[in-house]
């Protein structure tokens, strides 16, 4: 044996943790009401700018008319397809000449336009970015191509078990007609009638300078940012578009359901278990983050240790709260072999109950807290990551100190805090169950388990209540 290898017998102790601060940022306002937020990140010459329609201004899919569901996502995708000044090809080429990447995306809570460009080209790129934001031409041919691509994609959802399960889960936990019961990109019936005029009208209604924030992040040293922004966005005048009405997107369905989507011959069952969760702005956000990490966030979480390591049912299982301005879903997700579907569900239900009923062990609490505190700086290496974090604050209307207080708040979470957060936010008795798989192999076991009446859906048939 090699005696010198005894150095490996001792696991090293950590050194002294180094201090980390999220980059400072500064907020100013232009004469037309546009808010400018800048964050200087030294050593990051590739800059990221984002123009956000703030969440309080109804910027995302939440505020669209129900019969036009999907119009915000389509408008975002079509914005970089040509402007009043140049067509789609000329626009892409002008952007490429600057080494820039431009586009837009919409979610439930916001519409966000983004620009990534080396700092040496910021001035020219910002002018082009403003052209896309303020003068998109929405050519009919391009809008229709993107609309058809979206419809093709919706059809492909039905063939993909994972996406099929997500679609069913949203429609099961939210009330019929509630925006969150459907995808943010809309469904075929609402997307098919969309055209360039409807898309252009949605864009006009959303983009007003006083409703928007422009973020610029990266190495800004020596750049005349105020002049650059004023040249591109200073002349943007507000029109008097009416403010979108705020709807309640998160109305929950009555009672729990068990819905099985039949895929005869499927080798695996895609399982979703959960219920309507919580909005992002809650007092116990940090306790709930730690609770979820130890329940189903870490590799060594309770759920993964049991279902993967002990039982061998799955390649991996996770839990998560999707936090929006309103209450997004809480879900446990995994794929298991068909024959262990019912026992896997029983195990998951038992873990959801246990985290409420008994205090967690100090070492699992430590691992969860240390993980969340430790990876925090890894999340903000690039200009784009810093911009995304600031966009989150703006869209969700969180206080400016939110990122600075994250690590101390996580480190302070106690055993009792975890128990209280679990009791407040995790409700196994109210959890619905969706399974996409070979129903014949687990239907009887799930009827016997009696969580709720079992509903079976056959996608190819014409079930009257098959809308899940």
């Amino acid at each position: 044996m090699n005696d010198r290898l005894t150095v490996l017998d001792q696991r090293p102790q950590p050194g002294e943790p180094r201090h980390y601060d999220f980059p400072d940022f500064e907020r100013t306002r232009l004469g037309n009401g546009l808010t400018l937020v800048r964050a200087h990140v030294p050593g990051r010459p590739l800059l990221q700018a984002q123009l956000l329609v703030r969440g309080d201004a109804g910027g995302g899919a939440t505020s669209e008319e129900p019969q036009q569901a999907g119009v915000t996502v389509l408008a975002a995708r079509a914005m970089s397809e040509g402007t009043a000044v140049r067509d789609a090809v000329a626009f892409v080429e002008a952007s490429e000449r600057l080494g820039a990447e431009m586009g837009a995306a919409a979610g439930w809570d916001s519409l966000a336009l983004h620009l990534e460009v080396p700092r040496t080209h910021l001035a020219q790129a910002m002018a082009l970015f403003a052209e896309m934001a303020l003068q998109p031409s929405f050519p009919a041919r391009e809008v229709e191509r993107l609309r058809d691509e979206r419809i093709n994609d919706l059809r492909q959802v039905m063939a993909d078990p994972r996406r099929r399960a997500e679609k069913a889960f949203s429609s099961v936990i939210y009330a019929a007609g509630a925006p969150y019961s459907r995808p943010a990109g809309g469904v075929e019936e609402t997307v098919a009638p969309l055209d360039r005029d409807i898309v252009a009208a949605r864009h006009r209604g959303l983009l007003r300078p006083e409703a928007c924030t422009l973020l610029v992040c990266g190495d800004l040293a020596g750049l005349p940012l105020d002049d650059i922004v004023a040249d591109s966005f200073g002349a943007w005048a507000s029109d008097t578009a009416s403010r979108a009405a705020a709807l309640a997107p998160d109305r929950r369905a009555e009672g729990r359901r068990v819905v099985l989507v039949d895929r005869p011959g499927a080798p695996q069952s895609e399982i979703r278990i959960g219920h309507v969760g919580t909005p992002r702005r809650i007092d116990d956000f940090h306790a709930l983050s730690v609770t979820n990490a130890l329940l189903g966030g870490l590799f060594n979480s309770r759920l993964n240790r049991l279902l993967r390591e002990e039982r061998g049912y799955t390649y991996g299982v996770s839990s998560g709260f999707e936090m929006r301005r309103a209450a997004g879903p809480f879900a446990v997700r995994c794929a298991v072999e068909s024959d262990v579907t019912a026992p896997a569900i029983a195990d998951i239900m038992a873990e959801l109950a246990r985290v409420r009923e008994a205090s967690v062990e100090p070492d699992e609490l430590d691992a969860a807290r240390d993980y969340l505190v430790g990876v925090f700086p890894l999340r903000f290496e690039t200009s784009a990551q810093v911009a995304d974090a600031l966009a989150g604050l703006i869209v969700l209307e969180l206080p400016d100190v939110e990122l600075d207080r994250y690590r101390p708040s996580i480190a302070a979470v106690s055993v009792d805090d975890v128990r209280a957060a679990a009791e407040a936010h995790i409700h196994p008795d109210a959890a619905s169950i969706v399974v996409v798989g070979d129903v014949a192999r687990f239907e009887a076991a799930l009827r016997a388990a009696d969580y709720a009446a079992v509903e079976v859906v056959h996608d190819d048939g014409f079930e009257p209540d098959a809308e899940v």
Binding site: L8, P12, G99, F299, S383
Partner: protein
Amino acid sequence: MNDRPRVRFSQHTLANGLRLVIAPDRVAPVVAINLWYDVGSKHEQPGKTGFAHLFEHFMFQGSRHVAKAEHLAIVQGAGGVLNATTYFDRTNYFETLPSHQLELGLWLEADRMATLLDAMSQDNLDNQRDVVKNEKRQSYDNRPYGSFYEKLMAAVFPPGHPYHHTPIGSMEDLDAASLEDVAAFFRTYYVPNNAVLTVAGDVDEAPVIEAAERYFGPIEPNAELPVFRRPSFAPLVSLRELVPDDVPLERVHVGYRCPAFGTHEFDALEVGTQILAGGRGSRLHQRLVRAEQTAQDVAFFALPLVAGSSIAAGWVTARPEVDVATVETMLDEELRRMTREVVTDDELARAHALIESSEMSALSHMDEVADRLSMYTTYFDRPELVNEQLGRYLAVDAEAVRDVCTSVFGGDRATITYVPRTPEEAAA
């Protein structure tokens, strides 16, 4: 400030042959630890394929001081993230940790390099073989067009060539592997004189050298490390395969042999594939996806392989109402145009600008900086390429693009066409 960030680094070699690259960067209190083993699927012998990838799994099954599956738990519990990948030319293992956990990361890597075989058992071998088989089902077999990679490599590189098989290997070979076969593979290749360790981030040079010496210094080198010999083989002869499969749309895949990664010809080819298919302004996208609307998507790229030659490959997925032969004709026309005319100054300028942004983006991630330093050291013993590569792309001119396209796309190729299975074929 200088807009092309330069990576500062130093290079050292321990007495046992382990090469060490250290790149201090204080932007954030994190450290990226990256270990490249100069062993990939190209080193595997016929009948024993898939071993390098199998080790990517074994390396998380424990070692003398780390229990099964504990590696991942230790790294996450310390506030870190990790991964590992297997490729034709090499295998890499890496973690990013808060910088005060530097020694923990080095210790974990040293423990598995020094003592992995302590934890290896028949049970472990059986268990991980099953995991790999599930991975193959999930990533290749049960995925639309999932078999193209294996088919294309096998077609472009003949049997016996080290790139003929992909890293996942043959399931029959894995089934036939004995514990002794697997242990011998480990003892041969997972040794300090066959590895490069890079530490990048919030560290000082001297303590890293000291800690690396302390943990890795005692590990014995392999005095009989095999020398990889570049194969010689006959030129590619055109071949064509039709694959009825469970796919939604028809798609044509093509593959050509091309110069190896590290040559100036390869740099020129990468600029060429950027012009051909790199994004919404590229030739194939503009013509097939946007103007003529015959394709759902297009792709074209060259794999960075170093053993003598590499592969340039691409595909076009036809729209539902379009015949796959139509899009193949259009692809051929565009490839031929790359060999006949020089690209325009504007196309070249756009490609250079996009490549420059993409390099800037890559170097803002500490784990990517570490990975590139390991890569250039493992392949070429030249970590300074991390700062030179962008300049090499920007030096490529239109003639160089045309010349490499002429030699590559003017040669023979493999063509693999996927078509949806008929109901009768599906039932068979």
